[in-house]
């Protein structure tokens, strides 16, 4: 942004482009590889999106396959199952986004208030380790831990005398189980960026607040949080793009016929459908549908962030 405006200052009226290129051509040459990369690997393949509107056959190619209009998209919405899957996806993804934003912020603030560096560092490391485990592993552990005779039920029974709870087999409990386990796995990792933000706050703000007689709580409320706001908005906006990603790996490894009604999401539904291999048109249509929705949401949230918080990400 900055260099452009300065060049504008130098050449207010003349055709800016030719002069600009002449002056800064080495910079533009440096851009070429990344431009080529983006156009070959990001924009080029977009031609393939045409398949969403085709009955695609590999040996006929895009030019030879039959055009079938919106049939592939209609198939997404054709059945109750699919609609239920969309609803489930939204509920699970939105819950994950909300708790996935709030909890790391709270934890980051609490952690930054700890004075003992040793404790602070070890907590930080411990909570972010699960992020690196694969869902296949975690799901295996969860199935054992949350089973009717698993560790958690054993604890509940012996401590509170509660009947064993079928966490993974009860439609009402499945979504909370999914959201909480995802939170457990990922909040530590999400915290890192907030901790860094807090560490970067100018200490003179706190000194000033202290001189004005602010308590620690008031300092958090009036100094720490406002300073974190830009980062919170960036993270929140970016995560809205995931609104249709409820976490395929996690759910695929944990769901079962008893909880299809609340746990089946778009990705698992499509996965099962495409077990009948080679349905390129349908697969592409689902992908395109998800991308379009995500794109719209990102644009909206970007605008909102600008309007409400006067903050521009790009």
């Amino acid at each position: 942004m900055k260099p452009k405006s300065t060049t504008k200052l130098y050449h207010p009226r003349k055709n800016p482009w030719s002069k600009e290129i002449k002056r800064n051509w080495p910079l533009y040459v440096l851009c070429i590889p990344s431009l080529a990369f983006v156009s070959i690997f990001a924009y080029g393949p977009m031609v393939g999106l045409l398949m969403a509107f085709q009955d695609y056959k590999p040996w006929l190619g895009i030019t030879g396959s039959d055009w079938i209009g919106l049939d592939n998209f209609e198939r997404i919405f054709q059945y109750e199952d699919a609609n239920q899957a969309i609803v489930n996806t939204l509920i699970i993804a939105v819950s994950k986004i909300i708790v996935g934003i709030i909890v790391p912020i709270v934890m980051a603030i609490l952690l930054s208030e700890i004075r003992n560096v040793g404790i602070k560092k070890s907590i930080q490391t411990l909570v972010y380790l699960p992020h690196f485990l694969s869902w296949v592993t975690v799901a295996g552990m969860m199935i054992d831990l949350l089973g009717l005779e698993g560790g958690i039920n054993h604890l509940l029974t012996s401590l509170f005398g509660i009947e064993p709870v079928y966490f993974l087999g009860d439609p009402a409990l499945f979504r909370p189980t999914i959201v909480i386990s995802d939170l457990w796995k990922n909040f530590g990792f999400g915290m890192i960026v907030y901790l860094a933000t807090i560490a970067g706050i100018d200490p003179s703000y706190y000194e000033a607040a202290e001189i004005d007689g602010a308590t620690r709580r008031q300092q958090i409320w009036h100094v720490t949080l406002p300073s974190m706001m830009p980062m919170i908005i960036v993270i929140a906006t970016l995560s809205l793009g995931n609104i249709l990603d409820a976490g395929f790996d996690q759910i695929f490894n944990l769901y079962n016929p008893l909880v299809y009604s609340t746990g089946d999401i778009i990705d698992t539904y499509v996965y099962r459908s495409s077990l009948l291999n080679g349905q390129y048109g349908f697969g592409t249509a689902v992908g395109l549908f998800k991308s379009v929705i995500s794109f719209i949401l990102i644009v909206i949230s970007y605008r909102l962030a600008y309007k409400l918080a006067n903050y521009r990400i790009f």
């Binding site: 056959k57 040996w59 190619g61 054709q78 199935i143 079962n256 080679g278 592409t284």
Partner: protein, 560 residues
């Protein structure tokens, strides 16, 4: 899955756009014609092949590799045929995608193409890039292979179109059926006999649950473990299909069955007998006789309770004993017995889905050396028949060895000990070593006094007694193995609705067993199944079957 497949699709399209212009330019350049003399080609020829998974990868002996190993060298020396893998895929999805890329023309289609996906086989036929082989089979297939293919006419159905044959099953063979593994020590403790009917079965699992069969004073055991996560007919381990078949006969769940008489093909899961079977399972579940978490356990996870000594009965193919035998080590006094699956309510046996082959061979349209292929393929069967160069195995010091005049298959006892035997039979065209043993003929023969004098028999003889007994049972009961009548590509309505129907099926069955829905939910399921596409699919399946059998291709291929 989402992003990766999107990218792959996209790359594929890009590739097809680029490659569109260059395809067709790779017609085989014929040098001087090679001739077959005394069973050997001179000058040597090369057959290119596709391979889904190189199971030997990372295990080849020093200095050997995919395209240069003991078997390829043997072929080059003795047959004058070089095998070269030009298309290699990792897992099924990747392999299929590579083959589809080959269809777009961006990769060369090899001469011999094993295909493991019916939809892909159909795509290959539609594309017109694979060879019609009716005449080749008639002319070049050796008699002993013809005898094998004669036994399994249905394996041609997926590759027949308008009376023309575009492929053949890979090493067809009726694979072993499932047997029942029971805690023999529990039966003995309670003075019970192995169950043969539903009533006896119920009595045994009730006793296993309530009468403390392990004599430890705690109620910590139950009767029967199986999986309900993905299907009630897994066909290999942890399935309760015998309970369903007890009430439905040959109409087993998740299975297309050709009704005797009418010749109509029907889907097993909607047979009214399933309702009674579900009622029984529901009752057993509420009594605590079954694995409480069967809905969340996959087939392989459901065996854990048996291995840990919690469950008393599990069903699986005979080799399952090898995977659960730890229970005999974990728990003192534990012993596993092996028995046939129970009989149905009308006294008939209970049936299972049979597996005849894994995939089909297809051939590039431009491949003109079918005779060479059959020569090689037939040689690979030597190990199964115990003839020729491969009487005991494929290569001494690789998959067998002679130690002090005795044949051994134990790699630790080899003259030059190996960590594991080499899968030499899998180094050429086939993913599995060809077999003519059916569901356990060698074990049956041994049990009836045959001398272990071929590789197959010696190997069978080396198995532990329980596994051996399991295979004998599997062979004796081979008539309960029903090949599915529908083995073609997904029909049009299947592509759009099948997943929805099976989801509904699995959900309904499971919820009935868990008492979360009334038994009448089954009637509703049957009605919905027909309305939501099942009716249409049944018609299409029958249509497909008619088309596949319209022309007597077996006679045309000289296989009658």
């Amino acid at each position: 899955m989402k992003k990766a497949s999107g990218l792959l699709v996209a790359v594929m399209v890009a590739a097809s756009l680029i490659a569109g212009c260059s395809s067709g330019g790779n017609s085989p350049s014929q040098e001087q014609p090679s001739t077959l003399k005394d069973g050997k080609y001179d000058p040597p020829i090369t057959i290119t092949i596709a391979k889904q998974l190189d199971e030997n990868a990372g295990k080849y002996l020093e200095g050997e590799s995919l395209n240069d190993n003991v078997l390829t060298r043997w072929g080059a020396e003795n047959l004058g045929i070089k095998i070269e893998t030009t298309l290699l895929g990792g897992d099924a999805g990747q392999y299929n995608n590579k083959l589809r890329l080959a269809l777009t023309g961006s990769e060369k289609l090899p001469d011999v193409i094993p295909v493991y996906d019916t939809m892909l086989a159909n795509d290959l036929i539609q594309s017109g890039r694979v060879r019609e082989i009716t005449e080749d089979i008639k002319t070049y297939m050796p008699e002993r292979l013809k005898d094998i293919y004669k036994e399994y006419p249905t394996t041609f159905n997926p590759v027949v179109q308008d009376g023309k044959v575009y492929g053949m099953a890979i090493a067809p063979n009726l694979t072993e059926g499932e047997v029942m593994l029971i805690r023999q020590d529990w039966l003995d403790n309670l003075n019970l006999k192995a169950p043969t009917t539903i009533e006896e079965f119920e009595r045994v699992i009730a006793a296993f649950t309530n009468d403390d069969p392990d004599r430890n004073g705690a109620k910590d055991t139950y009767g029967f473990t199986f999986s309900g996560k993905d299907s009630y007919n897994t066909g290999w381990v942890s399935d309760p299909v015998m309970i369903f078949s007890a009430y439905t006969g040959k109409h087993i769940p998740r299975h297309w069955y050709e009704e005797e008489g009418s010749g109509k093909i029907v889907y097993g899961s909607v047979h009214e007998g399933n309702k009674e079977a579900l009622a029984k399972l529901r009752d057993w579940y509420s009594q605590g006789y079954l694995n409480k978490e069967l809905a969340t356990k996959g087939a392989w996870d459901a065996i854990a309770d048996f291995t840990e000594g919690k469950a008393g009965i599990i069903v699986g193919r005979p080799w399952l004993y090898g995977s659960v035998m730890d229970v005999e080590k974990n728990i003192s006094g534990a012993k596993v017995g092996v028995y046939p699956t129970i009989n149905g309510v009308n006294g008939d046996k209970t049936y299972q889905s049979a597996q005849l082959n894994d995939g089909v061979f297809m051939f590039n349209k431009d491949f003109n050396n079918m005779e060479a292929f059959f020569l090689y393929y037939d040689k690979l069967y030597d190990a199964a028949f115990g003839t020729g160069d491969f009487k005991y195995g494929y290569a001494q010091g690789y998959d067998y060895d002679m130690v002090n005049g005795e044949v051994t298959f134990d790699p630790q006892k080899f003259n030059k000990p190996l960590e594991a035997v080499q899968g030499v039979g899998k180094m050429a065209f086939t993913k599995n070593t060809p077999s003519v043993d059916g569901p356990g003929k060698s074990f049956y023969d041994l049990a009836n006094g045959a001398e272990p004098n071929t590789g197959v028999l010696i190997r069978a003889n080396a198995a532990d007694p329980t596994t051996k007994a399991g295979y004998v049972i599997s062979y004796e009961n081979r008539e309960v193995l029903l090949p599915g009548a529908f083995n073609g590509p997904p029909t049009k309505t299947m592509q759009s609705s099948w997943e929805q129907l099976t989801t509904m099926e699995q959900e309904t069955f499971t919820k009935i067993i868990y008492s979360e829905e009334p038994i009448e939910a089954f009637d509703d399921f049957v009605k919905q199944w027909h309305e939501k596409g099942g009716e249409q699919i049944t018609e299409e399946v029958n249509e497909w079957y008619k088309n596949a059998n319209e022309v007597d291709v077996m006679s045309n291929m000289g296989l009658k």
